[in-house]
């Protein structure tokens, strides 16, 4: 298995006895001119990596909060191309990941997109509508690059699938914690603990939990069972409401527990 710097930075944090926190933000919500400011803010607040969402016309894997943030970004004229050139204009030391639906990448041109990701310091890609079986569409262009194509695993994935995906995973395994789309959840299914434990057993890379994690309590809970958490809708809402303290306290909640 090749080593990705994304994996390395997660492992480093874990080896320090801490769980990883990755916030998701919608690029262009609030305007593209606040993109770098927000990245720097998240970095200073203690995030380990940042997932940068790209708005899309048909975000089928997203709940209301991210859909609405995406609509605001689209109204601001934000596109994948604009985000990529903005990211190239100013580099950050924190690992950045791009989360986008597949079609904007196809329209961009896979090879050109991967080149621009390298120039922008993007270390990981999450494509929610690109399952394991179809991943060669992108992965061929990623050979030899330090850009991890992070797979999602869901509660509905069969044990054989989980094993197959986890074994081939790059970067980390994104464990989807709900049957459903992104968004705030008040409770999680009881089978989730077993699922995460199984995943950690078969995965050779860290396992991060995401989808629906939105409160400090949930962050603490999942930080104690997974190698880290990804928080989306709660961060997006906090940025939209300019409630920066909320973001700081969520990240801090991820820091207070020790994994393993």
């Amino acid at each position: 298995m090749r080593d990705f710097s994304l994996t390395a930075s997660i492992l480093k944090r874990n080896e320090e006895g801490q769980s990883v926190f990755i916030p998701y933000m919608m690029a262009g919500d609030g305007g593209l001119d606040v993109l770098h400011e927000r990245i720097s803010f998240l970095e200073e607040a203690g995030a380990d990596a940042i997932e940068i969402g790209i708005p899309f016309s048909d975000p089928v894997a997203d709940g209301e909060v991210i859909q609405e943030a995406g609509s605001r970004a689209l109204k601001n004229g934000v596109t994948l191309r604009k985000v990529m050139s903005e990211l190239q204009a100013q580099l950050h030391s924190i690992p950045l990941m791009i989360m986008t639906y597949l079609n904007p990448v196809l329209a961009y041109g896979v090879v050109e997109f991967v080149e621009d990701c390298e120039l922008a310091g993007v270390k990981g890609l999450i494509i929610p509508d690109l399952p394991h079986e179809e991943r060669t569409l992108l992965s061929n262009a990623l050979i030899g690059k330090d850009i991890a194509l992070v797979p999602l695993v869901s509660l509905t994935s069969s044990p054989e699938r989980i094993e197959k995906i986890a074994r081939n995973a790059e970067g980390f395994v994104y464990a989807v914690t709900v049957n459903g789309i992104t968004g705030v959840r008040s409770s999680f299914g009881s089978d989730l603990m077993d699922h995460l434990t199984d995943l950690k057993r078969v995965a050779k890379v860290p396992v991060l939990a995401g989808f629906g994690i939105s409160t400090q309590e949930q962050v603490r809970h999942f930080s104690s069972i997974a190698d880290g958490v990804i928080v989306g809708s709660a961060i997006v809402t906090a940025f939209h409401e300019e409630n920066l303290e909320k973001i700081q306290s969520l990240i801090k909640a991820g820091r207070t527990t020790v994994s393993q």
């Binding site: 048909d58 089928v60 329209a107 079986e133 869901s154 509660l155 789309i181």
Partner: protein, 398 residues
């Protein structure tokens, strides 16, 4: 021999399974259930029983004598899907998939609808089989097809209005997919056209090919030979693939698919994805898709809600690429002419969707010889569109 490629749900380079991981399990379960159902004579018998006694199949292949006379060319036959229970071909697929859902032990159904025809067909199949049903429908379509909303409710379905995007079919599919992701353990998604991730395009074709098989048998009975040309309208492509599939290997039968050109392909306000020829991924499949240079999916435009979708099913994309089917288009205005033409020449008010095919077929027949035969798939009846047509014609018949 012309064959469509089907390894892992591929039709040439089109198709595939571009869906969130949460759905992958459900898709393979569905594929297995479909394969085992096809091999189960009891299932086939049950389906055929319902098709005969509930849907009213087989429906006629009708010789349109006055329309033929008016065209002055090929003999025109109409495959009367409009005479099916619920008034369109959509029931063939809805019923088949509802039976499949039952077989999988899923008691809940989600569906999207554009014109309301698929929603009504699904609500009907669910009432027949005692399944719970929720239908997502765009807000704009709800406005355009008010009566179909009430019809679905009358049949015991819950209709959810979708006000995102332009509030049309694409947005309804998005919402139905989101719902399915969240309820996948006990819910089956009855997709209404030959679209979506594998195995949907194949399943939909499977349940719609009864159209083509009957047509083949009927035309041989009436004319002693196969037709020279077959015409069908294309929304996602289910009535067309159902009609075309049994003819694909009969190379002497010319096949024509008619997309919706809305205000005209050059105006940009249309639903003719093959004419536009941009490729991409929408709703789980690689297809021809209307989109801008950034890969954002564009809204389709058509007077007929059932054709108002920005892509065309993957098998049609492939049939276009290999040149087996000719894809063409008809505008809103042409469809309106088609409605009036068929109403006045034959006493049949066609659905606006089907009227696209009628208009093209009428032109095509004129270029053909009197001893040639042309079959049109009359995919649905026009009762649902009477208000729309009246408004479009400014209240008066032209």
């Amino acid at each position: 021999m012309i064959q469509t490629v089907e390894g892992k749900g591929r039709y040439g380079r089109f198709g595939g399974q571009y869906v969130p991981e949460t759905l992958m399990g459900a898709l393979s379960e569905l594929e297995e259930a479909h394969n085992s159902a096809r091999a189960d004579s009891e299932f086939i018998e049950q389906l055929n029983g319902y098709l005969k006694d509930f849907v009213g199949r087989e429906n006629p292949l009708y010789f349109a004598e006055r329309l033929t006379e008016a065209a002055g060319g090929a003999k025109i036959y109409l495959k009367r899907e409009d005479l099916n229970h619920t008034g369109a071909h959509k029931i063939n697929n809805a019923l088949g998939q509802a039976l499949l859902a039952k077989r999988m032990g899923k008691r809940k159904i989600v569906a999207e609808t554009g014109a309301g025809q698929h929603g009504v067909a699904t609500a009907t199949a669910c009432a027949l089989l005692g399944l719970e049903c929720v239908v997502f429908m765009g807000k704009e379509d709800i406005r355009r097809q008010e009566l179909n909303v009430f019809r679905m409710e009358l049949l015991g379905a819950r209709v959810e209005s979708v006000d995102k995007g332009a509030g049309t079919l694409k947005d309804a599919v998005n919402e139905a997919l989101r719902y399915w992701v969240a309820h996948v353990e006990d819910t089956h998604y009855i997709l209404g056209s030959a679209l979506g991730p594998h195995p949907f395009p194949k399943i939909v074709r499977d349940f719609q090919q009864v159209i083509g098989h009957e047509t083949k048998r009927q035309i041989v009975e009436k004319e002693g030979r196969l037709p020279d040309a077959v015409v069908a309208c294309i929304g996602g492509g289910s009535n067309a693939i159902g009609m075309f599939h049994p003819f694909v290997e009969d190379e002497n039968v010319a096949l024509y698919g008619v997309e919706a050109a809305g205000g005209g392909v050059s105006t940009g306000k249309h639903a003719a994805a093959i004419a536009e020829a941009k490729e991409g991924v929408l709703h789980g499949a690689y297809m021809y898709v209307l989109q801008d240079e950034d890969g954002f999916i564009q809204e389709a435009h058509s007077i007929s809600a059932g054709l108002d979708y920005p892509a065309v099913g993957p098998e049609h994309c492939h049939l276009h690429d290999i040149g087996r089917v000719h894809y063409t288009s008809a505008t809103d205005a042409e469809a309106l002419e088609g409605v009036q033409l068929l109403a006045q020449k034959e006493g049949i008010i066609p659905a606006l969707e089907s009227a696209h095919a009628i208009h093209f077929a009428f032109d095509l027949a004129q270029e053909m010889q009197a001893d040639e035969i042309l079959v049109v798939c009359l995919s649905g009846r026009g009762d649902k569109d009477v208000q729309t047509v009246r408004d479009a014609l400014g209240g008066g018949v032209q």
